[in-house]
Symmetry: C2
Subunit: 386 residues, 2 copies
């Protein structure tokens, strides 16, 4: 991810690991994509907020922000002499806005955002330390219809961006803990079971849940049930569950039914006992995958916002979406000699051309990477010129 | 600029001085404005780049970046153990990209950018410490037509954003130094003259330039000539100037003629001996002002880029432009009951409505700030309801 200067050994071209320049045409592609996603959110009533990149670390890392504390750059504010953080996630900032400046606005509140997030270290698989992030938060409703809405709006935004087909993976991060809690599994055994679930190690889960007693007997069944939502829901319906776990299962069924009612064609999978990586989610958690191997495009779910407000939301990763969406046709560039009348230039721009002006006799259409030149006042493709 | 929580004394609502949240509808307005400006730049052949928010401080503060060194937040990169800076200006980053990754691309190079810049301290008049910045850089041409182009493209972008009329102020930051240099004015007197010019103190300038000898005699004349470009150009033509100063005057006349040829209606003023605040400009420097008291909307001019490449550019300040541009009509919001068919919702969104779904029986059009409701499948304004 470092950037080698092509023709010098001086340092100006060197960037820190995980930080990079987006060049033409990728930078414009990303910006267009972000605004396409934001327009889809706005069409569903989500109103844009723009929190600052920096804020006091204690407010930035409150609530769900605690999950990214280790990944947050800190710096001293010379004005207040207090520590500030450079955001690693936007959701905690939106929660702060909802609880304070929009605290008196009637619920549910629908907010959306787009901006950059930074993190202290990349990983081997995801080396980037600056990422664009867009997303929606629906705050103040605990209805399954709210969870269904955020998943559907995210899928609609991806469709607007040209991602041909997505699939929605639903997990229930509180299900396994609820089962282990109800079974009164002792802490040491609980840790071993959690690790076995984490590894999806069916043999260990079966053996350990035998030790854990009859109330944990659902675990191997639910581990095996992960897959298309209908099968997983049937497995959930068929096992004996303690009341807290049953409520989680019923809620998942209601969310899936609400999604199905509005998007019958969406592919949905359900993994009832998966609980990795969603540390602050309290109900359903969502991941949207693109087609083929394009990977994870969006992630979200239900969480508890500040002041114990129920909330649900989705974060989309435009850099991943870019890899899954088709590249648009490049903007045609027409070379215009000095003295071309302004009205003619404006007409060309209105047709979608970039007008690239000659500034000296040395400028040529080829040098300026133009696709078109002016012949009798009309833009003519250069390759087709007679 | 701090943010008081409306209904609690807890800290979550408090932001560092000069950092703030943009709320609905301002956040969307700013984003739409930025993309409007960027679309105007793209229409003139400027291609978007997106440098990272953080980079090594030695590359961030090279070249014109030195001008903002004191205003740049620094933080340690734990990966490389080197200091990084959080950008206070985007121009130095674009210069780095032009010199390295785009070093082999034919010139002139037309690049544009949009993003956030941060600075360590605000001022009393401009307390913000995070500002959106957009701009264009035209690298590799020393033609007056290049300077004219960047001023005109910036004015065209402001017009596209709805700013009704702008005026262009041109200064020649190297003119006074060139005169003082040619007159061989001793350093102490030169400093006093510079301060008098800075204060526009005509009496002192007259007295001090008398002491400085005949070659400095142009200074009081040029100070008095500041104003509409035609008069200032006439004054420049009428005074005796040493060769270096004459070249600067001729170049200014050529730039103004090139602007006039393409935008005869643009109001242009010229202040030949003004040189404040443009420390790295080497030819003409530009400021674009909005109508009335809306103030400075854009600033730029000619500078020397990395590898001694001639360059010229403009930076636009969307927060200032927002104050000068008319506010668009708010997006109409239509309240849609649960179960409204998807096709009907899509049709409403295609008409420009935000569809705001009821999630529970408690949701009402008024509570969700809707302007419209559905009656017989059509959106009807709520205030006009029978």
């Amino acid at each position: 991810m470092t950037d080698d200067a092509p023709n010098s050994s001086t340092p100006p071209g060197l960037l820190p690991a995980g930080l990079m320049d987006l060049l033409p045409p990728e930078a414009e592609r990303e910006a267009v994509l972000v605004e396409t996603l934001m327009a889809a959110f706005a069409g569903h009533g989500y109103e844009r907020v723009k929190p600052p990149l920096l804020e006091f670390e204690d407010s930035l890392l409150a609530g769900s922000g605690a999950a990214v504390a280790e990944q947050t750059f800190r710096l001293m504010d010379p004005v207040s002499q207090r520590m500030m953080g450079l955001r690693a996630d936007t959701t905690p900032q939106v929660a702060r806005i909802a609880a304070t400046r929009l605290g008196l606005q009637p619920r549910p509140l629908r907010l959306c955002y787009a901006g950059q997030v930074l993190r202290v270290r990349g990983t081997q698989l995801a080396p980037e330390r600056q990422l664009p992030q867009t997303g929606i938060e629906l705050i103040g409703s605990d209805a399954p219809a709210a969870d269904a809405e955020v998943a559907l709006v995210a899928a609609a935004a991806l469709a607007a961006a040209g991602v041909p087909s997505v699939s929605l993976d639903i997990t229930l991060p509180t299900m396994a803990p609820a089962l282990l809690e109800a079974a009164e599994v002792p802490p040491a055994l609980r840790q071993r079971l959690a690790r076995a679930l984490d590894r999806k190690d069916a043999a260990s889960v079966a053996a350990l849940s035998g030790e854990a007693g009859p109330l944990a007997a659902a675990l191997p069944v639910l581990l095996a049930a992960a897959g298309p939502a209908d099968g997983a829901l049937a497995a959930l319906a068929g096992v004996e569950l303690p009341p807290a776990a049953r409520a989680i299962a019923d809620n998942a069924a209601a969310v899936i039914a609400a999604i199905r009612a509005r998007a019958p064609g969406l592919r949905i999978t359900l993994d009832p006992v998966e609980f990795r990586g969603f540390r602050y989610h309290v109900g359903v958690a969502f991941t949207l995958y693109g087609p083929g191997t394009t990977g994870e495009l969006a992630r979200g779910g239900r969480y508890m916002s500040l002041n114990e407000e129920p909330a649900t939301g989705m974060s989309l990763y435009p850099d991943a979406v870019l890899r899954a969406a088709p590249a648009p046709a490049p903007r045609p560039r027409v070379f215009v000699p000095a003295g071309t009348p302004e009205a003619a230039l404006q007409a060309l721009r209105a047709q979608g051309f970039a007008t690239v002006a000659a500034l000296s006799a040395a400028d040529s259409p080829k040098g300026l990477r133009c696709s078109h030149r002016l012949v009798d006042g009309r833009a003519v493709p250069i390759s087709k010129e007679g």
